[in-house]
Amino acid sequence: MTTADISDDDVEKQFQVLDSEARSGGYHLNPDLEFTKKLVHGLLVNESRYGYPACPCRLSRSIKAEDLDIICPCNYRDPDLDQYGACYCALYVSDAILSKKKSLIPVPDRRPPRSERNSRKTIHTISSGSLSYPVWRCRVCGYLCAREEAPLVCPVCKAKKERFERFM
């Protein structure tokens, strides 16, 4: 699929999906609809190019294993929302931005540069032999659950199973 194959209708539908997922998890899409829909278009372009919706504001090399942290919503969204009131692309914004109590400022990229990414630290698993279930953590939003396997989709931020890590 090329950029030209993505219609306004596709963008509108995906916008509605993301908007309702955002609301259900307590997140907000940027109220600047023109800007936001361009990003949604970018996500659809990336999904068709790479097979996953890589962040529209970061360069993907089409290697999923290396891009897991920047599949939208990326691992950096929540800390950026806390610190700057918006994710790096400003697809998602905080309550304060939404209610115009704060204005958007440029967000520096929290993703480590290429040279440091390979040594990406995995979290330190607390070993607790006494637990009856392993505990899984969503890398996107921090949701924790104790069950044999991570859920297929995070109930809070809708990230897929592959974004979970063993926490305990």
Partner: protein
């Protein structure tokens, strides 16, 4: 690396490294057009792999994070991200 040229007032060598999908890149390009200066730009995500590698290496020289948009003025001044005031300031507006 093939760049696209936008005509306008000569304000030195102005090169914008952007992604075709990125909102802030679009805003930066729009601002340069609004300021009416001549510039070259390249959508790095649309380059063939080898040229993409060269582009990334160039960007990282000026912006180690390798992020977009990266605006390079006269091969020395760099403005990272859509920093409207800074961009206007660099072109005296």
């Amino acid at each position: 690396m093939k760049m696209e040229h936008v005509d306008g007032r000569d304000a030195g060598k102005v090169v914008l490294f952007a992604l075709s999908t990125c909102g802030w890149c679009g805003k930066t390009k729009g601002l340069l057009k609004e300021l009416g200066i001549a510039f070259d730009f390249v959508y790095v995500d649309l380059l063939p792999p080898e040229e993409m590698d060269n582009a990334i290496a160039t960007i990282e020289k000026y912006n180690p994070a390798g992020s977009f948009p990266t605006l390079l003025i006269d091969d020395k001044n760099v403005i990272i991200g859509f920093r409207e005031e800074e961009i206007r300031g660099a072109f005296g507006k």
